[in-house]
Structures are given as structure tokens and as C-alpha cells.
Chain length 393, copies 2
Amino acid sequence: MTQHLPWTLARRAERMNPSVIREILKVTEQPGIISLAGGLPSPDTFPIEAMREATNRVLRDHPREALQYAASEGFAPLREWVAIEMAEQGLPVDPAQVLITTGSQQGLDLVGKVLIDPGSTVAVESPTYLGALQAFNPCEPDYVAVACDDDGPLVEGLAAARGARFLYALPNFQNPSGRCIGATRRDQLMEAARAMGLPVVEDNPYGELWFDGAPPAPLASRWAEGTVYLGSFSKVLAPGLRLGYVIAPKPLFPKLLQAKQAADLHTPGFNQRVVHEVIRGGFLHQHVPTIRARYKAQRDAMAASLQAHLPASCHWNTPQGGMFFWLTLPDGVDATALLPKAVALGMAYVPGAAFFADDARANTLRLSFVTVSPEQIDRGIRLLAQALETHAP
Amino acid sequence: MTQHLPWTLARRAERMNPSVIREILKVTEQPGIISLAGGLPSPDTFPIEAMREATNRVLRDHPREALQYAASEGFAPLREWVAIEMAEQGLPVDPAQVLITTGSQQGLDLVGKVLIDPGSTVAVESPTYLGALQAFNPCEPDYVAVACDDDGPLVEGLAAARGARFLYALPNFQNPSGRCIGATRRDQLMEAARAMGLPVVEDNPYGELWFDGAPPAPLASRWAEGTVYLGSFSKVLAPGLRLGYVIAPKPLFPKLLQAKQAADLHTPGFNQRVVHEVIRGGFLHQHVPTIRARYKAQRDAMAASLQAHLPASCHWNTPQGGMFFWLTLPDGVDATALLPKAVALGMAYVPGAAFFADDARANTLRLSFVTVSPEQIDRGIRLLAQALETHAP
């Protein structure tokens, strides 16, 4: 317990720390720097006109309801929309299992509160989403990293997760690795998890952002009662609305709901109604393909630049969706140590070390391709190659 | 740890429970029931036209910024607005001390996470705001209730709070008691708290809703480095926007910010910009007086009805602001047992027992006067008197 007289901090506060990425972003958001470090979707994809029309309709037709306190579960028609959408993706759910959250980050906070005791174990992928570690940390878990290859967690790696409260997995175009778990691996993993009694928390912010074909059905479709599923409108509409959802097995739902009520009473009803108004007529069926096409072109540009400029000693997989390349530098090159040189040359990325719960691989880094023009991507990768060249390992 | 195979719940989840009030509201929200049980502001006060204009301006002038991820601290101009507003109320603060939250309920959640260890003590008023207990419960505190009179916590009552992590107090027109702590009592309490090294968490959702004169300056103005202050836009604009703020002493701010970031990354930027657009030209100086006038007339109506219909064996104080009367029934009358009879006659209220952290006074109840017409108030109080009359204590 730290003392800031007269305040005594809770022990869990020791596990709260500034986001490494946000700190890096502050350093790299200088004018003139080509930043491939961001994790933001492209604002060119935000459906501003649809938002304007929807807000006007909501404030014309249901202003009092939209501005009043509302149910902690969420706006019923939006919960129904989510249930229908999930069924189309292969996961039939009852709207009563859908909890609307203030972004899917809040879903992680609620899951942590309900499932993690101090000193209990949470299994994560290697690497894993940094924001999830931040959300879980105040609950003071011990982490165990499940060994992964380019297709996701290894089935034999699950042995390390025995006794964990859950496995946290991001199967579609993972942040940071960009990888997507294939159908066969999904079958194997969920069969093994079920056999071990290892629950799964499935996080899916990027699944809709596929380039060539939709990813396989959710992990949850393979073991519904053993999986909590998190979804988000941040990447298909806009993150500034902070709208996500949790789909929970029925025995878990009441506790997640009570945690939600205690956390912020409910997600802004105004935002829920506006988003429902935007999407209820099938808007996303027209809109999301435009995001896919845009991001695919950006992905292609970065793939070409990596191929053109980086030495053969670097490795990467070309992501089939999402927003990120994951780059492995030659053994012995520390991406954190390299960053200041890259920034001095005029480009920035996120070192991969922050994305590991343990046993960080220092020679990895994350590159975002969605907010920067192909020309800037090419120049940025060129500068990265130059930084690497002049860097003594 | 409860088992819902394959899930193991965290111990803290045992302290999460359905809101007693929300459960009561479900029962009493039947057609034909005059509900004085609600805690909602009157939707007639929501500035719908101003909201429509502001959303259109934000989506015209800053759509990409409003819909993108944003700073966890909050929208800088809104933080500055809060700082200026607080200075006018007698609490000079730096905008860097202002953290924008998803409703002030989230402020309570963050305060709990940063300051409460399992088994540590939190001191509360008697009665106290139920939502705060719900927010703090997952952090597993022990509560100690500070003895109160009609002017708030008794200075000599603070002895019971020695060693507590903080005293949680709602000094202005408290929910549920309606009481407002006077200037002299504020001086005495804060002097004693400072002498004891007892920090204070000051919650102020209702302070602007005064009827005859503004309440005294905040508790925080008497001991800034020992007080966390929570404010809200829910009662002066609209609760469906979920917009509140925390003002923290500088040594505490970073931990609250990190907890905020982990909880939901940031409060919806769209909502922050829209609210700032509504209020930045001084809108509240015209708007809030209309809410005051409306609520004062409603307060007068309920005061007259209580005076006219209730027996002399009942006691209440006429609130000088806010939304609630707090009624003490004759000794031995249990307001929880009386409720079904009142509902059968056609009116509803909230039994007071839920608002006590310990040692509940069963013969108390809360009446809201803001969402029901004077005619309905009169009929509701008449029915309450009738229920009391036929009730065998």
C-alpha cells in the first residue's frame, strides 16, 4: 500500500500502470514522423452522414427516452440486433444473453471483476492484446502464456493453462499479431478446452475486417456454455461512440450485469439508440465492405513495401484482415532499443515486448497500415529498413 | 467461490447483487400505479433542441475527432470548463485534476478500485446513496456508518471512522435524505477529518438543484488535498449521456486515470463534445434556473400534500433542493412490509432500509417529487396515508 498522505492506495493500484503504447504514441506523435505505431481505425471510414441522420431521427422521435436513465442490460432492440447478427455468424444466442457495454474494453473489465481472484491464473496468447492485460491487472491475476504458432495457440500449449480461470483469446486478425485461427485449430482448441474444463473469453473486435473471406465461426459456437464472447462497434462504425457487447452463458449473465450496473449504471442510451438507428436497416452490409476494400489496399501496400525494403532476415505474415502486421527482426535485435533510431529517421512503430504477458520476444514489433497513405507506408518502411541497417545488434 | 461449471466466480462477485431499488421499480412500474419511487430526473427538463443543434454542429465541424478514440483524461475544453465552474463554486482546481467519467457512477467505481482493499473500512453517512455501496462492494470493504442528524454527519460521529480509507459523503440534498450540510457543520467536519487524517470522497449530483439559495462551498474547498470530488451532468442536462467527472488531488490523479483507461479507455468523445458544445456559451445559466423552478413547485406540492394527509406521528424535513423527501414513519412501522399494501392501493415508494450500510431504520422511506404531477403527488400521498391507517404496526 503506497502512501500519498492522507491517502492509502489499494494494493491492486500497484498493478495499474500507464499504457506503454500511449506513452510511446506521445513520443512519436511529433510533426513529420510517419507513425505506423497507432492502433486507431481510419477516420475516413466513419459514416458521418449516417450518424447525422440517425442522431436527428433519435432526437426527433425518442428524445426523452434517449436522454433518460436506461436499463443496465442495454437497449432491447440493439440487443436483439446483436443476437441476430451473431446467429448469422454461426453463434445462435438469446438477446437475454447480450449485455451492451461501454466499448469492449469495459467487457474485459467486467469479465475480470466477475472471474479473477487475486493470485488466480489467467491464460493468454503469446503475444496478446495489451489492453486486456490492463483491464485484468487490477484483479491481480497471475498470467500464463500459451505457446502459439502462426495459426494461433497450440493445442499442446493448453496444458500450461490447466486450472486457469479462463483462456483469453483474440482469434480473428489479432492485435498485435494479425493472425487468424483456422477452422481446424479452432475445433481442436475448443475440444481440448472443453475436455479440460478451461473456459474461454473470446474477443473479436476485428472479425468483420476480413479481406478475402470471412473467418471461421466464433470459438463460442464450438462450446457456447464455456465461452464469453466480446464484440464491438468500434472498428465497423466508430470508436468514439464507445459501444461494445458481451455475450455470456446464462449462468454468468446476472453477475456480469450486476458488475455493469455498479460500474456505470448503463452505457449511454443516446449512443445505443443512435447506433441502432444507423444499423437497423442493414447499413453495415453496404458500409463494412467499403472498409474491407480500403484496408485491403492498405495491407497490399504495406506488404509490397516490406517485400521491397526489408532484408531477408526479417519475417512477417501477411494478415488476411484487421489492421496490423507483426514483424520479427533478426535474433538479437531489440525493437525497443531500435525505436529511437527509427524515430530520429522519421518513422515510428510499437515494439512487440509490451504485448507479452511473460517471456517477451524483444525482436518483434507491430505495424499499423490503416491510417497512413501508401506513399507514407512505403517511406516509413524504407526508413525502418534504414534504421535496421545502421543498428548494431 | 461459487461454481457454475466450467466457470469459477471471483470471491468479490459474492458482493455483487441486484439493485434493491431496481427490483422494487420493476414491481411498481405497473400501469395505474402512482410511483413516487423513482430516482429519475424529469424528462421535461431535457434540453432537446440544444442537444440537436449541438450534435449537428459537432458532426459538421469535428466529426472525425468526435468519432475517433480519444484521451482517457477527457476532452480538454470540457475539463477546462469544469475547472472554471468549480472555481466559481469556491473550489479552485487545475484542469489537469479533472477526469471525465462515464457518469459519476464510474467515478465511484474508480475511487473504489484505487482506494479500497478487501477488509479495509469505508465510512458512510446514515443513510447513504445505495449506488455508491454497489460501486464499492466489489472491492470488499467493511462499512462503518457515521451517525447523522438532520444537518448531516455529526462531528463526534467521525470517531467511528478512524482508520477508514475515506468518508463518503453527499453534502447537497442527499439521495435519499434530501438533507444539505450547512456551512458551519462543513467547517467542523472537514477540520476534524483533516485532524484525523481521514480523506473524504464528496459526491455532488444535486448541488445545482437548489430552490432558495445555493448550498455552501464544497467540502473539498475546505481540504483540497484530502478530498476527491465527484460531479455529474445527469441532473442539469440529461443522464442518458452518462457524463460525469472526478476532481482529484494531484498525487491521486495518475492512478485514477490508469484505472479509467483500464475500465473503458475513455468516455465517449462524441458525448463530451456535444455536451461541451451545449454548455460552452453559458447555456446552463439559463437552463438550470428552469429546472430549479420546476422542482421547487413540485417540492411545494409534495410538502403541502404530506402536511394535509399524513398523521402527526410521521416526520419529514422539507428539502431545500434535489429530488427527494425522506419520511420517518411511526416507530414499529416497517416500510418494506407496508409497501405491498401501498402498491395494492395504487402508489409506490422506496423503503429506506436499502440506504443503510448497517443498522437499517426500517420505518423510513424515500419519496421522489420530480416526475409526477402535483395532482398525482396529492393522490399518491393520500393513498400512502390510507395504507398507513389500515396497517397494523
